[in-house]
């Protein structure tokens, strides 16, 4: 049976981009076209969920991937156009298709070259969806790079005062990482003659890459790929492009950046590094855990020191992505909680941070500044906006009943058994997280209304369109917080398989015990 869904999700936006670029399309219509080309993929994603078989694991088994599309593309080099999803990639594809229409709505008021903006945005959408869907390393890399260029222009042209600096920093930093990725990809190809993920995994299991040794091929391949992905996460100390990019980027681009692009780093690690280089993964696991803890604490402390609201949220992303790193460093077959939490946290952070950036955008559109100290007492002036923000802040600080809590708790449940000391430190992240969020909330919303603040007259209640961007995400955050089963069902099989692949020896024992 021919599956068209992933092709549709990936390439339908680009059709919209091309339509927008037609000379007779008025620039006022660009946003409508963008909206109508980002909504259908979302419905297709929902449709895919309804027919998704949760028993199939994917990861290293091409036969249990779903919605597979596979045909030769560049036969000379054995490059395939192959796509497919499993529990690891589906939540992120869903996230992408969810956030894209929301971002179009958030960018509704863009009046500087809207045709350019929305066509680049749709190209970006294609790049993102393609990256998560690809099951061929070459195809993955192509989409990865496709995503980079529109991002550069979107920040560089529609950004804030220091947009050029931020855009070039983002571009060069990511490019720097992709160079390593390209090298490792080429090396893999030379050793195996294939770009296909599943064949690479199989070849790796056969021992084509030799045994792992410090300074050997696997060691360097791991580091090369890991740096490429870690920049995207962003992992300390490669994170400084993030606050700059966020502060300069327009709201909807920040949402995409934090909501989707950061996940590509952790997704890449789980999709490519873990199953292809399991021994190196084992070797570096503790290091990853340590960096996860550093991200959590360092990001939170930096967030608390920020004076710019958006920078604060940007650093909170650094902190929250640290939880993902910590969770995925737990490689125990017997305790999948950490990995489950990490995969879930990727999705949950995507939704929660999207809300945070949308909310920052709402106030920035009105006040034209983001100085935390420049507000005060807004809760009595714009109570509905304050209500939405309270919801998002409490989701971000991991309040039970909202989705972030479940993933964070699972990550700690996982990491405690393997790294008790690192966990002991990381748990303070939940205190620091509450501290910077509540302190910000106090300074922006509480106290006596500061009628002297800049552009006070322009600060009006949140509009219907803005509510429309927040409510769908809010519903998902709440629903998954109360009833996480649908999400867990989706990812469980793949997480279990991933852990087996990373622990071949232990998995063998376990299966023998069961027999």
């Amino acid at each position: 049976m021919y599956h068209w869904e992933l092709n549709f999700i990936t390439f339908f936006p680009i059709v919209g981009a091309l339509i927008i670029l037609l000379p007779f399309i008025a620039k006022e219509h660009a946003k409508w076209i963008a909206l109508f080309t980002t909504i259908p993929p979302f419905f297709v994603a929902i449709m895919m969920y309804l027919n998704y078989d949760i028993a199939l694991a994917g990861i290293n088994d091409a036969n249990s991937m779903q919605y597979v599309i596979n045909f030769p593309w560049i036969e000379k080099f054995n490059i395939h156009y192959s796509m497919g999803i499993d529990g690891l990639s589906y939540p992120l594809i869903f996230l992408t298709t969810l956030l894209c229409p929301i971002c179009v709505l958030a960018a509704w008021k863009i009046d500087k070259m809207p045709k350019g903006f929305f066509s680049l945005f749709l190209l970006l959408d294609t790049g993102m969806a393609g990256t998560f869907a690809a099951t061929d390393f070459f195809l993955f890399f192509v989409f990865w790079e496709v995503m980079l260029l529109p991002m550069y222009f979107l920040i560089g042209i529609w950004g804030g005062p220091r947009k050029e600096y931020a855009a070039i920093k983002f571009f060069l930093y990511t490019l720097f990482g992709s160079v390593f990725m390209l090298l490792v990809m080429a090396a893999f190809y030379i050793k195996t003659g294939t770009f296909d993920f599943f064949e690479l995994m199989a070849k790796s299991k056969e021992g084509v890459f030799g045994t792992f040794e410090v300074g050997g091929f696997q060691f360097w391949a791991y580091l090369g790929l890991f740096i490429g992905f870690a920049i995207k996460v962003p992992m300390f100390p490669f994170h400084t492009w993030l606050p700059d990019a966020h502060v300069e980027a327009p709201t909807s681009i920040s949402v995409i950046l934090a909501g989707v692009l950061l996940k590509m780093g952790t997704y890449g690690i789980l999709r490519i590094i873990y199953p292809i280089l399991p021994e190196a993964t084992q070797y570096f696991a503790t290091t990853v855990a340590v960096f996860g803890a550093i991200n959590i604490l360092y990001g939170a402390c930096c967030a608390m020191a920020q004076k710019d609201l958006k920078k604060m949220v940007a650093y909170s992303s650094v902190s929250h992505m640290g939880y993902v790193l910590l969770g995925m460093s737990v490689l125990s077959v017997n305790n999948p909680a950490g990995m489950t939490g990490a995969v879930m946290q990727m999705f949950n952070h995507g939704t929660i941070t999207a809300m945070l950036f949308l909310l920052v955008g709402v106030i920035y559109d009105r006040a034209h500044h983001r100085e935390i100290e420049g507000f005060g007492g807004l809760a009595s002036h714009v109570p509905v906006y304050a209500g939405f923000t309270t919801f998002a802040f409490f989701a971000a600080l991991g309040l039970p009943g909202l989705s972030g809590f479940i993933s964070e708790a699972l990550i700690f449940v996982g990491s405690w058994s393997t790294y008790p000391t690192i966990t002991l430190w990381s748990v303070f992240g939940i205190l620091l997280g509450a501290a910077y969020l509540l302190w910000t909330m106090q300074r922006v919303f509480m106290g006596k209304l500061n009628t002297e603040m800049k552009h006070f007259k322009d600060i009006v209640e949140i509009s219907g369109r803005e509510k429309l961007t927040l409510i769908p995400i809010g519903i998902i955050v709440l629903a998954l917080g109360i009833y996480p089963k649908p999400m867990l069902d989706l990812i469980n099989a793949s997480v279990g398989r991933l852990l087996e692949v990373v622990n071949p020896a232990v998995a063998e024992q376990v299966s023998q015990v069961i027999k």
């Binding site: 260029l149 042209i157 930096c302 020191a305 509480m446 089963k485």
Partner: protein, 712 residues
């Protein structure tokens, strides 16, 4: 000691479980409707906005009464237990899962009763107290979400469920303390409450992690085949130091929530919330959740963790009482009194007086809610008087502005006096029974372990001070000459029935009669807790730790011996405290000011709450945390990012050098420099059109070119 808890497990939902689900969900439903439509309803009529919250909580009260009657009156079985369980979080391996569920035993039934009763009365009280507030409907929405969270907390059958609702009551507390967020003090207080609690929660979370990782479940009782935490600890799956650490970790949560030293600082500030909230959350129910938690984990406590609990509780009881005697704000006195009383309960659990501690939780909930609502009644009257006088500077909560109010507020006075007698430990009041039982427990503990003699000293010392500062409130507020005549004259009549009815009900429940009688003899003799129905139903659970079991059996020998001395001493200290406050504040034969001077530094320390807040704020937060944050942010900007920028500059520098080399060396050799540079410039100008469409096209072309190059 009772036999094993019967494992009465229901596969389908029993009637009590069904009722409890309704009790739990109705306030949640009320909250959701209220938060979305409340404003519109309030615009129509403020009373309209309260229908749903009232309906939810009063039907909750009715259903709780049904459960209570069933368990307490019909069954009268100390071991009765009903559990309902469903799996909530599933993992890739089937044997690992986290479940949620409901557990109903006598303790739950009593807690349900306490929470719904006091919540209902507070709903009623607030109707008058909060009248005219612009966020009236929002207030009821928050009360509803609190009721939901608190009921969930007492119904949960697992540590995970407890933790979830634990955080949610923290949220409701945050929202209600910060209800008047325009005041900076309220904004500070709600943030402080949440964050201080989070510190304790970290310990609790780690405790939960230890339990879950070691025994693989968080459900407390065993359900059919699957064994719960109690049973698994009894089997020795978690023991020794790890069990002690788990116990202390879980107890950290109680230190935060029940405002024990050193995390007590948030509770006095929490009085910034509306007074009914203080009564409901910060006196009767939520702050007692810590005690409830310790009672729930009591079977798995080791003797070491019990000792930690006893000392924290005992010290807090004493420490907070020494602060309460010098405060002038009526709510602050009550707040420190609450901390002190919670310390009693915690100490009671620590010394093994399990039933007594829970007993005190319940009696305290009644009389402390009464005291807080009574103070609310006084403040309400004062506030109105000041409002009429257009006086916005006088503090309506300062007792130095009151005096003689018993003539103006007779019902408030009467009920306040009854509740004061209860908390001070006067015979024939509920507090006498429960406090006496805890004190007897601490005395028994020190008799068997003489090195811990300080625990009963803390206990009796706190009892002495409690009697003193509580009657100090009575004399200063209700007796004597009015301190501010103009305010006094402006108070015309007692508050309306919505305010006085809750006071009368709660005062009525502060008599011993509800708790004592099992047979007519003890009804008349009164002063004996041992025959009370309460202590029959809340009997010591089956202890899972062998050492603790031995310890408690050992203690039992001393309990009877300690009972009479404890009663005598507590009567003496209560009498002394009341007498001292009478002489000092009513008869004025002892001068309070002179005594303050005589105490010197001790008075200053007490008056300034031992400068604990100042230490936390200036040293830990401003001195350490904020500086650390700024240092890290500076490091991030200057060093980490500096390296990135330096690398970039170096690259630019190197490429410029190579560019110069190119220009002056290579090009000279080729001798075509002029042409090539100009050509390149023209080509680049062509690309830099400033039109996004073109950039887009170039991007696509570039990608295609890249692909072609690789493929070729």
């Amino acid at each position: 000691m009772p036999e094993t808890i019967t494992q009465a497990i229901t596969s389908e939902l029993s009637r009590n479980i069904q009722l409890s689900i309704w009790i739990l969900l109705l306030p949640l439903f009320s909250f959701l409707i209220q938060i979305i439509f409340g404003k519109k309803m309030q615009a129509v009529n403020p009373a309209f906005a309260t229908i749903l919250p009232f309906a939810a909580i009063f039907s909750g009260l009715a259903m709780s009464t049904v459960i209570f009657t069933d368990l307490v009156v019909n069954r009268y079985d100390p071991n009765h237990l009903e559990v309902w369980d469903f799996s909530w979080v599933f993992f890739a391996i089937p044997q690992m899962k986290i479940s949620m569920g409901i557990m109903i035993d006598n303790m739950t039934a009593i807690m349900l009763m306490v929470v719904t009763l006091i919540s209902s009365l507070v709903h009623l009280f607030s109707f008058e107290y909060m009248k005219g507030d612009p966020r009236f409907s929002r207030f009821y929405a928050f009360l509803s979400v609190f009721s939901f969270s608190m009921l969930g907390l007492v119904l949960s059958h697992s540590l995970f469920g407890l933790y979830i609702f634990w955080e949610l009551v923290g949220l409701s507390s945050f929202l209600l303390i910060g209800f008047w967020f325009e005041k900076d003090t309220a904004a500070d207080a709600c943030k402080k409450a949440f964050l201080t609690n989070r510190i304790g929660d970290i310990g609790m979370f780690l405790g939960i992690l230890i339990v879950f990782i070691t025994v693989g479940t968080l459900v407390l009782p065993s359900i059919g085949e699957s064994e719960g935490v109690y049973a698994l600890v009894e089997k020795g799956e978690l023991a020794g130091t790890m069990l002690t650490l788990a116990g202390i970790g879980l107890f950290c949560g109680a230190i935060g929530k029940s405002a024990q030293f050193p995390l007590h600082v948030w509770l006095p500030d929490a009085m910034e919330g509306p007074t009914p909230v203080s009564a409901l959350i910060h006196a009767a129910t939520m702050v007692a959740a810590g005690v409830y938690l310790v009672a729930r984990i009591f079977p798995i406590l080791t003797p070491d963790s019990m000792l930690v609990i006893a000392y924290i509780g005992g010290f807090t009881a004493f420490f907070a009482a020494t602060i309460a005697i010098t405060q002038n704000d009526i709510k602050k006195v009550l707040a420190y009194s609450t901390i002190s009383q919670l310390g009693y309960m915690i100490m009671g659990l620590g010394v093994g007086a399990y039933s007594a501690a829970f007993f005190h939780l319940v009696t305290h909930a009644m009389f402390k809610a009464c005291l807080f609502l009574g103070s609310g009644s006084v403040i309400h009257a004062m506030h109105h008087a000041l409002h009429h006088l257009h006086d916005h500077h006088t503090d309506p909560q300062d007792m130095r502005n009151m005096g003689g109010l018993k003539n103006k507020l007779p019902i408030t006075y009467g009920t306040f006096l009854i509740a004061t007698c209860a908390i001070a430990g006067v015979p024939f009041f509920s507090g006498f029974l429960s406090k006496d039982a805890i004190l007897a427990g601490s005395l028994a503990f020190s008799m068997s372990h003489t090195s811990h003699f300080i625990l009963p000293v803390f206990g009796f010392g706190a009892a002495l001070m409690t009697a003193f500062y509580m009657f100090r409130i009575i004399w200063m507020t209700f007796h004597g000459e009015p301190q501010k005549k103009e305010i006094y004259d402006e108070i015309h009549h007692e508050n309306p029935i919505q305010i006085t009815l809750p006071l009368m009900i709660l005062a009525g429940l502060s008599f011993w009669i509800w708790w004592a009688p099992k047979d007519i003899l003890s009804f008349i003799v009164g002063a004996n807790a041992e025959n009370s129905w309460f202590l029959h139903l809340i009997a010591l659970p089956k202890i899972a730790v062998a050492e603790t079991h031995e310890l408690l059996e050992h203690l039992e020998h001393y309990t009877h011996a300690a009972h009479i001395p404890a009663t005598v001493i507590s009567l003496i200290v209560a009498g002394t405290g009341i007498l001292a406050s009478y002489l000092m504040y009513q008869k004025k034969s002892l001068s309070a000011d002179d005594w303050a001077k005589r105490m010197g530094i001790l008075y200053t320390l007490s008056f300034n709450k031992y400068y604990v807040d100042e230490f936390y704020v200036n040293v830990l937060v401003k001195g350490f945390l904020l500086n650390l944050n700024n240092l890290l942010a500076w490091t991030d900007r200057v060093i980490v990012d500096g390296i990135v920028n330096l690398t970039a500059s170096l690259t630019v520098f190197v490429s410029k050098i190579s560019g110069l080399f190119d220009k002056y060396v290579v090009d000279l050799l080729v001798n075509a420099s002029g042409f090539s540079m100009r050509a390149a410039g023209m080509v680049l100008t062509f690309f830099q059109t400033g039109k996004a469409q073109n950039y887009f096209a170039f991007t696509v072309l570039g990608i295609l070119a890249l692909l072609t190059m690789i493929v070729m």
